[in-house]
């Protein structure tokens, strides 16, 4: 059975809350029922069929076509199934997600994977600020799952991140891993300023020394062979990502910080 398809009719003037359009919410609903769902658009609402051209299909595999950066909350709370997006998306992609897969062939806005608990988000493009982060005022970012970004990420990637993986094939923005509690962020490209700012625990894995170097808040712990790295790279092999092709290494330079705080985080740089 083909996918259930939502094709945006026109570029929206207001932001659209797409959180009702997940495999969990649409299971057992007819196309007529789906078409009648009211979505929040700016400060009003609109029927789904007023915004999207619908093509009936399996609600467990949803496609957003002709997508736009004003489509927010795609995949909110989803626990299973898949969502594929053709085009850019807005904020809060996969917020509170517990399972399933989201693939975006475009760029994402802020708070991609915000407070997600499981599943996988793949962004074939660039991601905005606060990837895997916590909502303002909240103290736990993503607590599980994986976010893969083939391009670059914005600032504050992994802010308050607690568990899970963020894999960045391009560059990470400023304040990457800020206030990170635990988990792993791996970057194949460069990192912006203030890497690991306020980092408590967790791992930043880099394949090259950042062009701005390591901040003074991290102390050099020397070069080491770490046994967990081959296990981690082995787990990447099944991914549709450049990380699957990275030749496994276990020799790294280890920096501990942020020493302005408890200093239990680490930056590992391949040597």
């Amino acid at each position: 059975m083909s996918s259930l398809r939502f094709s945006l009719k026109a570029a929206p003037k207001q932001r659209i809350d797409c959180s009702p359009l997940t495999p969990d919410n649409l299971a057992d609903k007819s196309l007529t029922e789906i078409a009648a769902i009211e979505l929040v658009v700016g400060n009003t609402t609109a029927r789904v069929d007023a915004l999207f051209e619908l093509t009936d299909g399996d609600s467990n595999t949803i496609v957003f076509a002709n997508s736009d950066s004003k489509l927010d909350f795609i995949g909110r709370n989803m626990t299973q199934g898949s969502i594929s997006v053709q085009g850019d998306v807005g904020a809060y992609l996969g917020i509170f997600m517990e399972g399933g897969e989201i693939t975006v062939n475009g760029d994402t806005g802020i708070y991609t994977g915000c407070e997600m608990k499981g599943g996988q988000i793949k962004v074939n493009g660039n991601a905005g600020d606060f990837v895997g982060g916590a909502r303002p005022g909240r103290r736990n970012g993503m607590t599980g799952g994986m976010v893969i970004v083939t391009g670059n990420t914005g600032a504050r990637t992994g802010d308050h991140m607690r568990r899970g993986f963020i894999l960045i094939e391009g560059d990470a923005g400023d304040y990457c891993a800020s206030r990170m509690i635990s988990g792993t962020i791996a970057v194949l490209g460069d990192c912006g300023a203030h890497l690991g700012y306020g980092m408590k625990r967790g791992t930043i894995l880099l394949t090259q020394m950042p062009s701005r170097g390591i901040t003074a808040n991290f102390n050099d712990c020397g070069s080491h062979t770490l046994a967990f790295l081959p296990l981690m790279f082995a787990s990447f092999k099944k991914l549709d990502s450049q990380f699957a092709n990275v030749e496994a290494f276990s020799r790294v330079q280890r920096y501990a910080g942020d020493l302005a705080g408890i200093g239990m985080g680490e930056i590992l740089v391949k040597i």
Binding site: G144, H224, T225, L226, A227, F228, P230, L231, A234, M264
Partner: protein, 298 residues
């Protein structure tokens, strides 16, 4: 039943339910993986006094281990889950954590699990680091040679302990040679260990004793020097008896191991002084699993 001149007694071995797990120890090279595994499985011949029965199942090539280094698979069994957990934790802490370059992984996914490195992590004094990879939690514990990596939990399986057979020979040397031949073949069988020294036990026991403090004592019916003093099971020409005890993850595993072991003994045959194969049969007092020798060799 007679095979190559060796009489297979119409009797059975009795075994009992245990709890078991498989662990994988890896290290910088095969030598140090084996040293660590030997330390872990030391003093683990019998639950009677050791608290557990453990042994080396086999060596593992780097492509078979989680971290791609040389490794050793070990099996450990105890009478219950709590006892097993205690033995695993103390042995892992004293024999693997301490062993240079070692890492410790679960080798068994059971319906239930128990702590492996879950409590060892506290040795890290707050510097330990958790990593969840593919749904499994690992602990990185800083130690003086680098980092000790251990999986947090290992699976627990219902298992069978105490499968056995006795080799009755005309001389001590012939009994030993037959047992060595049997062990060589039995070590090729997965999911089993022979926990006694070299896989062979010369002091088989019976249930009970004339001394109240002991719940097991020498199996006098099979002691050749007592042939004239006790109700002996031995004919005049038998001068030495040795036993092979097998613990396994399933009854079928022990069946297979006993069959290849007994066959190896029988291949030497009467010409090499092997007269009989018998088994530790305690009249049903010991356990619910019965391994009938003639059925196994049929």
């Amino acid at each position: 039943m007679i095979i190559n001149g060796v009489t297979i007694d119409e009797t059975f071995a009795e075994a009992f339910p245990m709890k078991g797990t498989r662990l994988i120890i890896t290290a910088h090279n095969a030598k140090w993986a084996m040293i660590s595994a030997q330390a872990f499985t030391g003093f683990a011949t019998s639950v009677i006094a050791c608290g557990c029965e453990a042994g080396i199942e086999r060596e593992l090539d780097p492509n078979e281990t989680p971290d791609g280094r040389h490794g050793v698979a070990i099996l450990i069994f105890a009478m219950g889950g709590k006892g097993l957990a205690k033995q695993v934790e103390t042995r892992a802490g004293q024999c693997v954590l301490t062993s240079p370059t070692s890492a410790l992984f679960s080798g068994l996914d059971g319906e239930k699990d128990m702590a492996l490195g879950q409590n060892l992590r506290f040795f890290g004094d707050g510097f330990q680091i958790s990593k969840v990879i593919d749904g499994k939690r690992y602990w990185r514990i800083p130690v003086m040679d680098g980092e000790f990596l251990t999986e947090e939990k290992t699976g627990v399986a219902a298992a069978v302990g105490g499968g056995n057979f006795l080799v009755l020979a005309e001389s001590q040397g012939q009994a030993l040679a037959a047992c060595e031949a049997a062990i060589e073949q039995m070590r090729k069988i997965p999911n089993v260990i022979m926990p006694f020294p070299g896989g062979v036990v010369r002091s088989g026991s019976k249930v009970g004793s004339k001394y109240k403090a002991l719940n097991a004592s020498t199996n006098d019916a099979f002691c050749p020097t007592l042939k004239g003093q006790t109700k002996s099971e031995l004919s005049p020409e038998v001068e030495s008896v040795m036993e092979i005890v097998i613990d396994g993850l399933t009854k079928e595993d022990i069946d297979t191991a006993m069959k290849v072991g007994i066959q190896a003994v029988c291949d030497l045959g009467a010409a090499q002084g092997i007269r009989r194969i018998s088994a530790g049969n305690y009249g049903g007092k010991l356990g619910p699993f019965h391994f009938h020798l003639q059925e196994i060799m049929a």
